[in-house]
């Protein structure tokens, strides 16, 4: 299967095009080496390390870190509880605000969130390691307690959630705590959304995403139906009729195309598909990767695709981004992480033409760019070429509105190409809410969790009000 050269294509799993000539291969490194490369990139703090780190927290009044956390976790509060050995209390403080506290401890770009705001940054540029401490507490709880949260007394109300990603499950969990019956419709065979299919493997090793979802579902009252795709297997109208409220946590199903000649060549893949394949591979060394890989894009996805290619054994990996380092949506920390992994990052160049050899990509011609007055990249006319056995496209995911249409017209309002919502995450339809990547805002796990939580509270008020 090849991808159509449209401006947007649906990300597809398992789409792989391998030619006989191009150097794309599995098992570039010994299996033990690959296993080590995909083990926990940041191992947990030991109890003593956690205690010492927790003692570094000043227990700020009106703590800036809390304000910087999209889910508003009482950070000084949970850290103090680690310092006193009250790990259960600490974890509950976290999970009360963010049921995906375990994931967030591992995947949040803390340098631009809580840790970036920690007052110790101002003091010594060495923030309290809030993420690592959060992991200490949540790991402890998940090891010790099947479910600390009880399902609320049944209200008899039924809510449909579409999408079992962080947004959908956060919403579902909060609704279950309020006693509502929740049915989650999920297109994919496994729950977790991008926690399961997208996040870099070494951030959540040992099947953490599935363990966390299973732990979260232990509250009961949440029924997940897999293989159920909105727009194909059911429609929004039916849901609205059969349920008291609906939450849409659809994420972004589409990927942006490069829009250049040669996009359908063998060896050219969507970075998210490559990443999903890698995440689903039990034995990572069975995943094929090019000897020379070029990744196009400047966000998380580009960083993760490039870094994981290197860790699979690709010899030469280059990220090419059309603007400068400051414009990349990947944080400085993530850029450094890729570079530490031997990834080269080239700036101010945009793909111009994919070069082919026998139907397979052999290289890319790039056009150098410069920023115009409005900060957009404009071509300079100058070109250069990079040889490549594999090209990974990571120029952005986009929301696909098709499932929300009837007779070709949209059922609800959109804003900047995504579902429009108010502060309560309510859409233009009174009983339909939405959150996560399918609404405008930063595309982060923690933001999706907050959306789901806010929507659940609003739904609860609406249903009980």
């Amino acid at each position: 299967m090849t991808l159509a050269c449209a401006t947007v294509s649906i990300a597809t799993e398992g789409c792989r095009a391998v030619s006989d000539t191009a150097d794309i291969a599995a098992a570039r490194l010994p299996p033990e080496q690959v296993a080590a490369n995909f083990a926990d990139a940041h191992p947990p703090l030991t109890p003593h390390e956690a205690l010492v780190e927790a003692s570094r927290c000043y227990f700020c009044y009106d703590a800036p870190c809390m304000e910087a956390c999209p889910t508003g976790i009482d950070i000084p509060g949970f850290i103090r509880k680690i310092a006193t050995g009250n790990l259960r209390g600490s974890a509950l403080t976290i999970l009360e605000a963010n049921i995906f506290g375990g994931s967030c401890a591992r995947v949040c770009p803390t340098e631009i969130l809580c840790e970036g705001a920690c007052v110790r940054m101002a003091e010594e540029e060495r923030p309290v390691r809030i993420g690592a401490l959060q992991r200490r507490a949540t790991d402890w709880l998940m090891e010790h307690e099947a479910t600390p949260f009880a399902r609320g007394a049944p209200t008899g109300r039924r809510v449909a959630v579409v999408g079992a990603g962080p947004a959908g499950l956060s919403c579902a969990h909060r609704l279950a705590r309020h006693g509502h019956d929740v049915t989650v419709f999920e297109a994919r065979p496994k729950p977790g959304g991008l926690n399961e299919y997208g996040i870099a493997a070494y951030k959540v090793p040992e099947d953490f995403a599935q363990r966390e979802v299973a732990w979260l579902l232990a509250i009961g009252g949440i029924d997940i139906r897999h293989g159920q795709r909105l727009g194909r297997d059911f429609d929004l109208g039916t849901l609205r009729r059969e349920y008291d409220a609906v939450f849409l946590g659809l994420g972004q199903a589409g990927v942006r195309a490069l829009g250049v000649v040669g996009e359908t060549l063998g060896g050219v893949r969507n970075a998210v598909d490559f990443i999903a394949e890698l995440r689903q591979a039990h034995d990572k060394s069975a995943v094929s990767v090019g000897r020379r890989v070029v990744v196009i894009g400047g966000g998380n996805t580009a960083i993760d695709a490039a870094t994981q290619s290197r860790r699979l054994g690709a010899e030469d990996v280059t990220i090419v981004y059309r603007r400068g380092p400051g414009e990349m949506s990947a944080t400085h920390h993530e850029q450094e992480w890729a570079q530490t992994n031997g990834v080269r990052i080239r700036h101010h160049a945009a793909p111009h033409r994919l070069l082919a050899e026998g139907g397979h990509v052999s290289g890319i011609e790039f056009m150098r760019t410069k920023l115009d007055a409005s900060g957009r990249a404009v071509p300079t006319g100058e070109t250069f070429t990079l040889a490549a056995d594999m090209v990974l496209k990571a120029v952005g995911q986009v929301f696909v509105a098709d499932p929300l249409t009837a007779d070709g017209s949209l059922l609800l309002a959109t804003e900047d190409g995504r579902i429009a919502v108010d502060a309560q995450r309510r859409t233009s339809l009174p009983d339909v809410y939405a959150g996560g990547d399918c609404v405008a805002g930063v595309d982060l796990t923690v933001a999706a969790v907050q959306d789901g939580k806010i929507a659940a509270e609003a739904i609860h008020r609406q249903l009980m009000g």
Binding site: V52, S55, Y58, Y61, D62, A122
Partner: protein, 424 residues
């Protein structure tokens, strides 16, 4: 380079840093290592009568504070558990090999004249420089009417000190227990008994913690615990106070300061409050003997910077400023000043003052940014904010100019005694 040599109650040592009577001075092996490391003297682990005492297994407890180990230390050990003659032989050998170092021998025997007389002679024969009478041990020995049981009764302190002066020619140092209401009583008793000096403090009666699984005080000995003696950094303030009291009340009387000393700065503080030498136990047990290197050159560098050539140049220099509360100037006023450039916006000053003191620090937002500001009219100058502020130099307490004369409580209008005086 400053001269750190010391003569204390007639005992010479190249520097004022002695190891206190405790495990670090229990035998020749340790003491020789200590001298090699540079310690100026030792007080040998307390000797007693034969047969030697027996120690329990599981002996120490410790307080770890926010991950910092041994902020306070506690033990339930007794005096030496080695035969008297073994110790005496080793003391003789070590003193012969290290003639320039102070070797003082700590003693504790039952409270009879015969018992004291009997031990003094063989100890004196070792050639040691003096003796220290352990009237301080608060556990085990006190239940046998020794140690703190003696130190808590000034009459006994005087009596035993007098026996030792009478039956030996050695300098006698009386080691005082802090487990007493007023340290001056035993200190005066020691002097009355003609002791040459006092040393203090011995350990503070304590339970370091309770093991909440075994439901036993720590350290746990086969499921049970007992009170022990507390020492280490946590007890330094208690020790300083007691040293200061004696220095103020008994000018010129030699004091060996002990309790929580871990650095040259700690030592300098004790000396400024009147100590002639200082003794160390916990810090050495925590870090090993080489901490003395920093103590020696740290003290001497500081003295050089201050222009002090000998220890006598600043010994007791802070005693005249250690006054009774009633001598403090009530018209003095100091105010908190926050350096906004250093402020990291932790808000600790605000919440401390707001919740627990005088509501004198306003929490504001200026253009969305946090800003903490002192309200001068409310600030009483208590120092709390400056103590809780995590940033050095960010909050300073600034004395305010005043046209008012010095005013002490004795003359204050609110003092009923003063009013009565005036009415009379």
């Amino acid at each position: 380079m400053a001269d750190l040599s010391t003569v204390f109650a007639g005992i010479r040592s190249p520097n004022p840093f002695w190891l206190a009577s405790a495990p670090p001075t229990d035998k020749a092996y340790n003491v020789v290592r200590a001298f090699e490391a540079g310690w100026g003297g030792v007080v040998w682990k307390t000797l007693g009568e034969d047969p030697p005492i027996v120690n329990v297994s599981s002996r120490y407890g410790a307080i770890s504070y926010n991950g910092v180990r041994v902020a306070g230390f506690n033990n339930i050990e007794l005096i030496t558990d080695r035969p008297l003659q073994v110790n005496l032989d080793e003391i003789r050998r070590v003193k012969r090999e290290w003639p320039d170092r102070a070797v003082v021998v700590s003693l504790m025997v039952p409270c009879t004249e015969e018992a004291w007389k009997a031990i003094l002679k063989p100890v004196e024969d070792t050639g040691c420089d003096g003796i220290e009478l352990n009237f301080g041990c608060p556990h085990g020995m006190s239940e046998r009417n020794m140690g703190a049981a003696v130190g808590q009764v000034p009459e006994y302190v005087e009596m035993v000190a007098a026996w030792c002066k009478q039956h030996s020619r050695m300098p006698v140092i009386v080691k005082l227990t802090p487990n007493i209401t007023n340290i001056l009583a035993p200190a005066r008793a020691a002097k009355a008994g003609r002791a040459d000096a006092v040393s203090l403090i011995n350990t503070v009666t304590s339970i370091t913690g309770v093991d909440l699984d075994r439901m036993s005080p720590e350290p746990v000995v086969d499921g049970q615990g007992t009170h022990g003696g507390y020492c280490g950094p946590a007890v330094k303030p208690i020790a300083l106070h007691m040293v200061g009291d004696i220095a103020r009340d008994m000018p010129g009387y030699p004091i060996s300061g002990i309790g929580g000393i871990a650095s040259w700065r700690d030592a300098a503080e004790f000396i400024a409050l009147g100590a002639g030498t200082v003794q160390v136990c916990t810090a050495a047990m925590h870090h090993g003997f080489r901490i003395v290197e920093d103590m020696i050159d740290g003290l001497s560098n500081w003295m050089d910077a201050k222009g002090y050539r000998t220890l006598d140049d600043f010994r007791g220099a802070a005693v005249k400023n250690y006054v009774h509360w009633g001598d403090l100037n009530l018209n003095f006023k100091t105010l908190a000043r926050i350096d906004q450039d250093l402020c990291i916006k932790c808000g600790l000053c605000h919440i401390a003052c707001e919740d627990t003191s005088h509501q004198a620090i306003a929490a504001r937002r200026v253009d969305g940014k946090r800003r903490y500001e002192v309200i001068d009219a409310e600030c009483v100058g208590c120092n709390l904010c400056a103590h809780v502020c995590p940033v050095d130099g960010c909050i300073s307490m600034v004395p305010q100019p005043s046209s008012l004369p010095r005013l002490v409580w004795g003359q204050h209008p609110n003092n009923p005694m003063r009013v009565r005086e005036a009415a009379e």
